[in-house]
Structures are given as structure tokens and as C-alpha cells.
Symmetry: C2
Subunit: 119 residues, 2 copies
């Protein structure tokens, strides 16, 4: 069997969670994932799942901007559309190890996605 | 003469503005640049220069995360370090046309870089 590329793994992950299939998405995430998210660092798949699983139901649409791959690194730029905004972009920089997402640097502007809490 | 690649143009631009050389950086930007920045769209080099020129003096350091290139698209992920934060990432997705930066989707979390104004 051919191993999927880092790019394919991320595309599979991205399609899964943005279509609401969190279970499928999490099969592509390492147990010890480290994710830098806006305002917080998430460590471990449980924390990561809670974060993504909390955001996914707010998606009303998706518009891709660009995607990049370079060895084990994959970069995505897209518009995660919600009731708050259709034009605020997000970016993710993934690092793949042993066929799973081991690191993610996830960037979006919290202010664009809703009123700040405890700002 | 060999034309610089899209990747080289962006690297040149990135080095210039992050070292405070806004004049040099702007030689690599199209007059009619369109930039999606957090909370605002910037149109034209004057508006873009004002935005970047306003942020550049607040930089206290820089840590690169990753960079990607695919044809005329270039993606950068890095930490623009300021007095407010050294660990809040930024991402930029550039489109190069005719040797200049024609489009930029610039993403960072405003809340991480300082207290919100009029939030």
C-alpha cells in the first residue's frame, strides 16, 4: 500500500472536519498533538477535539484560498464561513509525523468571528 | 537577467519590512495591491504602506515557522514578536503578478497583539 502524502492527510482531515465528520478527522490526528490556537495552546487529542468539535457546528460554508505542501509541512488558507463572517480568513500550518498531524499552528482573528469575551 | 521567482520576491519583501526597510519592501508591491488584513481591506500601495509602516516599528524580533511556494502563490508563517507577544503567529498568502505582490491575505489575531480598540 502506498502511504498517503502529508498533503493528502491534511486534505482528508480538512474535508472531514469542515463537513462535520469530527470522528473521521480525529483519526488523522496524533494523540500527542500540539496546537497553537489564538490565545491558547492545546495539548493532546482530547483538547484538540474539543476545540475543533466546538467550532465545526458554527460553519455555514467554506471557501478555499490556497494550499501548500513542502515535505512534512502543509499550509492551508481558507475562509471558514460562519453567521458572523464569510470573509475572515484562517490559516493552518501542519506538521505530519508517522502519518498523523503532530503539530498545528492555527491562525484566525478572534475579533472577526464574534464579539470578544473577557477582552 | 533571470527574473526572481515568486518565492524570492516574497523573501526579499519579508526581509525588508521586518528589518524596517519599508522603502525597499514597497518596491516589491504593486501599485494596485489588494490586501485583506484583520478587520479591514486595504486597496492600493499607499494604504498598504501605511499599514505595514505602522506595524514595523513595533517589531522587537521575528521567528520563522514555515514558508511555502506554489507557482505565483507564496505562503509565510512566522511570529512577529512585539512588546505584547512573542508567541502569536501570523500568516500571509501572497499572489505575485508581473514581479510584484498583487494580493496579500494577512492573518493574525488582533487580540493577541494588544488590547482591542472599540471592540
Amino acid at each position: 500500500m502506498t502511504q498517503p502524502s502529508a498533503h493528502e492527510i491534511v486534505q482528508d482531515y480538512h474535508r472531514a472536519w469542515t463537513s462535520g465528520n469530527i470522528d473521521r478527522a480525529m483519526t488523522l490526528v496524533a494523540d500527542d498533538i500540539v496546537c497553537r490556537a489564538p490565545g491558547e495552546d492545546l495539548t493532546g487529542k482530547d483538547a484538540y477535539r474539543e476545540f475543533i468539535g466546538g467550532f465545526a457546528p458554527t460553519l455555514t460554508g467554506l471557501a478555499e484560498i490556497a494550499d501548500f505542501a513542502d515535505g512534512e509541512r502543509v499550509g492551508l488558507f481558507y475562509y471558514p464561513q460562519t453567521a458572523a463572517t464569510a470573509t475572515a480568513p484562517a490559516a493552518e500550518c501542519f506538521t505530519i509525523r508517522d502519518g498523523k498531524i503532530a503539530e498545528n499552528v492555527l491562525i484566525f482573528d478572534r475579533l472577526s468571528f464574534g464579539p470578544p469575551v473577557d477582552a
